[in-house]
Amino acid sequence: MTTVEVDRLVKIYDKFTAVDGISFTVKSGEFFGLLGPSGCGKTTTLYCISGLETPTSGRILFDGNDVTKLPPQKRNIGMVFQSYAIFYNMTVFDNLAYPLKIRRIPAEERRRKVNETAELLGLKDILNVKGSKLTPAQMQLLSLGRAIIYDPDILLLDEPLSNLDPTFRMETLRHIKRIQRLLKITTIFVTHDQLEALSVCDRLAVMQAGRIMQLGRPEEIYYKPATVFVAGFVGTPPMNLLEGRIENLADKSYITSPELSNRLLHPHAQSVGEEDIIWGFKPEDATMSLKPVETGDGAVIQGRIRTIERVAAENIYLVDVNGKTVKVITVEYIPVDSKVFIHIPLEKIYIYSRKTGLLLYAPRSLEKQFSQPFG
């Protein structure tokens, strides 16, 4: 039950700034995510928290204690690596027992704890198998078991699913979430897969180029992406973003954009305060038809369907609009190459500043329940 505080963390390698002064706090027992593309600094941050790297400046605090200068051995944390890093020459039993051996725990109790942990992770049947002979999924579970067997205060996970076959990822993620709930252990989870992060984390930070772009609960991140970057990163597929302008004519404000057939009357555009904007909408919020839809408010853009991707029961249409690709999700089937009209309800449109990338206006009607697969 430990809180983790990262205070103005900076890490510079030679000339490259990997982490550019970030701060956040992970609450006790929280499942916290660090999400971002490769090179954003999330792994470096995790390594600084673990003690495998020393920060250039800034502090790491566990429960208020400054551990920045403490070597990893003394931090009492558990860590799961992307490459599993289990001891290949040892059996599953010895792998699990290793941390306990180091702590001079007597053999009898060691055996008890190993069996307990193996039971928890479903490894009981393979206790005598050598590490090198396990399947990747088993290796990762073993890695998890070894990480928690000595009751660490904090659990760190560095892209634990990335090296696994996609078929095993969800199941392993379920194990991780289950264990975390059971042990109520403060957990920090690094990944580049936004679907993973959004589905298991209590809160997460989206990182880019060494900075935190947005920090919040998954719903906030998903429904109110704070920057253009976050909007374009989160979501399967992410938000469609197009350049536009806000024009004020006689007391009313409009959004104009090369893709829009008409000026779009937007009641809130005035309050935005900027003229050059980026406007966006989520693929699942738009509808598409072969004939223009005549309902009043809302944006209409025209395009031609380039390809269709089927994901589970949904069709993701890649529509060529004015040279750009716009994605729309709908259950209906419309053949490739068709000329279509895409209709976006007014209340689903997001507005971002073109200059700063920050969110200027987000649709109000977002009280939807965001469904988590692990409820």
């Binding site: 020393t54 200068k69 290949y88 090198s132």
Partner: protein
């Protein structure tokens, strides 16, 4: 804190490097000293006036003006020492020819063993084992044969022995390199109509030429510094090589440390240079076998 440890480690490493370097340094400076300083006590750590007379003695013939000029500083004791140039020439001829032979023969054998396991494990171990035989043990009966066919004290005779003795390492290194090349490469060349022999020379060899270079340099260094066989097989003095010459400077009355050191330094330089170039490939060639099959 870890910086401090790095400094400590560096200090120890510097100590080790100093120990590694000092004997070479000492021999180099001895070669630049006059007789008075060779065994001076306390020792002359750094010769303030380096003299090249030792080198002149090595490269000049007795009786020539060049030699006389050197003798003024060194004393008459060196008046009769023969020039070391023939020894250097011998060493070069013998080492180079032996190396060419060993690399050629060894590479062919390595290919055969790598691709077809020719002769099985026994042949491979047999080849490697030949390196383990003490020269004296082989030499005694071999000298009998050599004297019968009059190959004693010939460049060719000694070169042949060197080839036999150094071919083992060539096979070891080259086999490792051949093992890494997929068989498909020759197979596709053969499908194109090349005979297997041509496929080998035109297609496979160019791929391993770095390995061959490494094996060549390594073999050269071994043969260049070989002492035991040279000692036993060049008694007549015609094919005498550098190592033997150096030891004779010791035995031949008077302790001629200066010229010995000079000759030694000359012998050392190609070895160190080649060895440095080759070290990376060496370790790869010698130890790759241990890496396969590990994660």
């Amino acid at each position: 804190m870890s910086r401090l440890w790095k400094v400590v480690r560096t200090i120890i490493a510097v100590l080790a490097a100093a120990i590694a370097f000092f004997p070479i340094y000492w021999m180099a400076t001895t070669s630049l000293k006059l007789p008075g300083e060779w065994s001076a006590y306390p020792p002359v750590w750094f010769p303030t006036t380096p003299r090249i007379e030792n080198y002149i003695v090595i490269f000049s013939e007795p009786g020539t003006p060049l030699r006389e000029s050197a003798l003024q500083a060194l004393g008459r004791g060196f008046s009769a020492s023969p020039s070391a140039v023939p020894y250097i020439t011998n060493s070069i001829i013998i080492a180079v020819s032996a190396t060419i032979g060993a690399v050629f023969i060894g590479t062919l054998a390595a290919y055969s063993i790598s691709r077809y396991r020719t002769g099985g494990l026994f042949t491979y171990i047999f080849i490697l084992a030949t390196r383990m035989f003490p020269p004296v043990a082989i030499a005694i009966p071999l000298i009998v044969v050599y004297s019968l066919i009059r190959w004693l004290d010939t460049h060719w005779g000694l070169s042949l022995i060197y080839m036999a003795v150094s071919v083992a390492y060539v096979v070891w290194i080259m086999k490792t390199f051949f093992d890494e090349i997929p068989k498909d490469i020759e197979d596709s060349a053969i499908l194109f109509g090349l005979s297997h022999v041509r496929a080998f020379f035109k297609v496979v060899l160019p791929i391993v030429k770095n390995g061959m270079l490494a094996a060549a340099l390594f073999t050269f260094v071994i043969n260049w510094g070989e002492y035991a066989f040279a000692l036993m097989f060049t008694v007549g003095g015609r094919a005498t090589t550098i190592p033997v010459a150096i030891s004779q400077l010791q035995l031949g009355g008077g302790y001629q440390y200066g010229p010995m050191a000079a000759l030694g330094l000359i012998a050392l330089i190609p070895a160190v240079v080649f060895g440095y170039i080759v070290q990376k490939y060496l370790v790869v060639g010698l130890t790759l076998g241990a890496v396969k099959g590990r994660r």
